[in-house]
């Protein structure tokens, strides 16, 4: 069972890293939002794996995952809404062009 845990954790870590990579490098704003979801899903995987095969298995992980899914959905909703507003202003979803706020 420990090996099961390890494989889930590895998968989650890989997903998380892909997500992070996407957030940092992707130019399309929608893809960036997708990448964040990917990271959150990696976490959910982690939580559920721990709740089943963890050192001290308990249901709390699943509950946590449920909440995190909801929250992720809300976040995605707001993210998309903001992106729509931004698109209406700029007519692009390329994050490189979001540079009106200068330092």
């Amino acid at each position: 069972m420990v090996s099961m845990l390890a494989s889930y954790l590895t998968l989650a870590a890989v997903l998380f890293c892909i997500g992070l990579y996407g957030v940092l490098t992707k130019r399309n704003a929608v893809v960036v939002l997708l990448s964040i979801e990917l990271m959150l899903n990696a976490v959910n995987l982690n939580l559920i794996a721990f709740s089943r095969y963890g050192i001290a298995p308990s249901l709390k992980g699943q509950v946590f995952a449920l909440f995190s899914m909801t929250v992720a959905a809300a976040e995605a909703a707001v993210g998309i809404a903001v992106l729509i507003a931004l698109y209406r202003n700029r007519a692009t979803v390329n994050v490189d062009e979001f540079d009106e706020l200068r330092r």
Partner: protein, 511 residues
């Protein structure tokens, strides 16, 4: 066993329930009111809700005091310990509620259609954000904390984007969503490991389980905490994770900027304090390696934030970005007390934190309120908008001077004492390097903040339009300025009060 909410629990949740009820009522009111009716009434409603919630918090404080006098524990676990009513939470809640009330009041005077086109939303979305902040400071469980954090984050995403027609606002909001989402992912990822190691999300239980787990799962514990640190650093805009802050603060409507700078930051800080004191403080005795590393990391982050924040602010010409970067530095300062060893000598970290937070609330909100006024009369938010403010509005200039002195940490202001206590703690615990950095950045910050003063007093401004003051904004500015000075001249009552209420053993060690 299923633990459900009971009627008696709802008493402990009264402040949050009140706010939620007001949110709903105001939202409905906003929908029901015809278009031509001004939305100020909703703002006043929000203010009433905040005050009412504050009254309930005070009531709780009173209750806790009564229990304490009766020899009972001065805290209550609600909902199976996922919610704690203790004075750590209560004091921070008061700070958040007060700050939000000031922001709402200030915006009642200044919010124009150009600034926030849908004012109703602005007023009633700020309330759930406060609920989130309160949840973050009052939870005993990572799950509740996380939900609170997201409640705060998501509402603030919307608030930042509330100027629908403005590309800047939307751009800021998008950046905020991306960093905020990434930050939550990091925090959550860290939490998931912590949960995996201990099998629980309840902070106190984690604290109990961790010493046992430490032997076998050391690496995972490191991973958990460092992921969380990264996440929180992103949330708090600590350097080197602060790049988003100036953009977001600049793009957001000024009242929202104030909210982000003060309440969002304070709440995240509260969460950091709770999590780290409840869990990471565990490894006393033989194996303090993990703890030392973690707190060192926090110290390094704090130092980096102070340095980078002030260095970035040095060349900043946009007043809002400047204040954002100063916020980065101030977040660093707020983190310092936590990063210090909790020893016999130094055990007043909470007083230090909360005092500086109060100071920060006052000075930042005050400064941003002045900025709103000034930028409205000048039409832009550059530093030069302040040119000759002394001639245009001498009293406002004077208030701003007091606020800036507090920001810079000059005596005798709240900012000065806040820094002094924290400095004293660093010296007490022998972290001289941190003290040196804190002092060094303070000196540089003189230059930064005095650039406002130079503009106000030493540049001509006779030709600029005069500044139109509204009563609510004026009240806020003067409350903040007077509060900054008063806290500086009489810090004792506040600190005595905080010290009397807060107790490390009850608030963090009692299960």
């Amino acid at each position: 066993m299923i633990t459900t909410l009971t009627w008696s629990d709802s008493w402990y949740l009264a402040p949050e329930i009140v706010l939620a009820a007001f949110t709903i009522a105001l939202a409905v009111l906003d929908l029901a009111l015809p278009r031509r009716v001004g939305r100020d009434v909703i703002g006043w409603g929000a203010l009433v809700g905040l005050v009412l919630a504050g009254v309930f918090v005070c009531w709780h404080i009173h209750d806790l005091n009564v229990w304490k006098d009766a020899g009972k524990d001065a805290f209550r676990n609600v909902l199976g310990g996922s919610w704690r009513v203790d004075n750590f939470g209560n004091l921070l809640k008061l700070a958040f509620l007060g700050a939000t009330a000031l922001i709402v009041l200030a915006s009642l005077g200044t919010v124009r259609d150009r600034e926030v086109p849908i004012k109703g939303e602005f007023y009633y979305l700020i309330l759930p954000a406060v609920i989130g902040a309160m949840a973050m400071s009052s939870s005993g469980d990572m799950l509740t904390m996380y939900v609170g954090m997201e409640l705060l984050s998501i509402t603030t995403y919307v608030l930042v984007a509330v100027r629908k027609k403005s590309g800047q606002s939307a751009e800021a909001a998008f950046k905020y969503v991306v960093t905020g989402g990434t930050a939550s992912a990091f925090v959550l990822y860290g939490m998931s490991f912590l949960y995996g190691v201990t099998g629980t999300t309840h902070l106190a239980s984690i604290g109990q389980a961790l010493p046992g787990a430490l032997a076998d799962y050391r690496a995972m514990i490191y991973v958990a905490f460092f992921l969380m640190i990264v996440g929180f650093a992103l949330k708090l805009a600590l350097a080197p994770f602060h790049a988003w802050a100036p953009d977001v603060y600049q793009g957001a409507p000024t009242p929202v900027t104030a909210f982000l700078a003060v309440v969002a930051k304070g709440a995240a800080m509260a969460m950091v304090y709770r999590i780290f004191l409840n869990t990471a403080q565990f490894a006393t005795g033989d194996d303090s390696q993990v703890r030392d590393d973690l707190f060192l990391a926090l110290g390094v982050l704090a130092a980096a934030a102070m340095i980078v924040g002030i260095a970035g602010a040095l060349k900043q010409q946009n007043a809002k970005r400047l204040l954002a970067l100063s916020g980065v530095a101030n977040a660093g300062i707020l983190l310092v007390p936590l990063s210090l060893d909790l020893t016999n000598l130094h055990s007043s970290l909470f007083s230090e934190f909360v005092y500086y937070l109060a100071a920060y609330v006052l000075m930042n909100i005050g400064a941003l309120a002045v900025l709103t006024l000034v930028s409205r009369s000048s039409g832009h938010e550059q530093l030069s908008a302040f040119a000759g403010l002394y001639h245009r509005a001498p009293w406002t200039a004077a208030a701003m001077t007091a606020l800036l002195c507090s920001l810079a940490g000059l005596p005798i202001t709240a900012g000065f004492y806040g820094k002094l206590y924290i400095l004293f703690a660093t010296v007490q615990t022998g972290e001289y390097w941190l003290a040196a950095i804190l002092l060094g950045t303070t000196v540089v910050s003189y230059y930064v903040y005095f650039s406002f003063i130079r503009q106000m007093y030493m540049r001509g401004g006779e030709n600029e339009p005069s500044v139109r003051m509204t009563i609510p904004t004026g009240v806020v500015i003067w409350v903040c300025a007077a509060g900054s000075v008063a806290l500086g001249i009489f810090p004792k009552p506040v600190l005595d009060w905080v010290d009397g209420l807060f107790s490390l053993t009850t608030d963090f060690l009692a299960r």
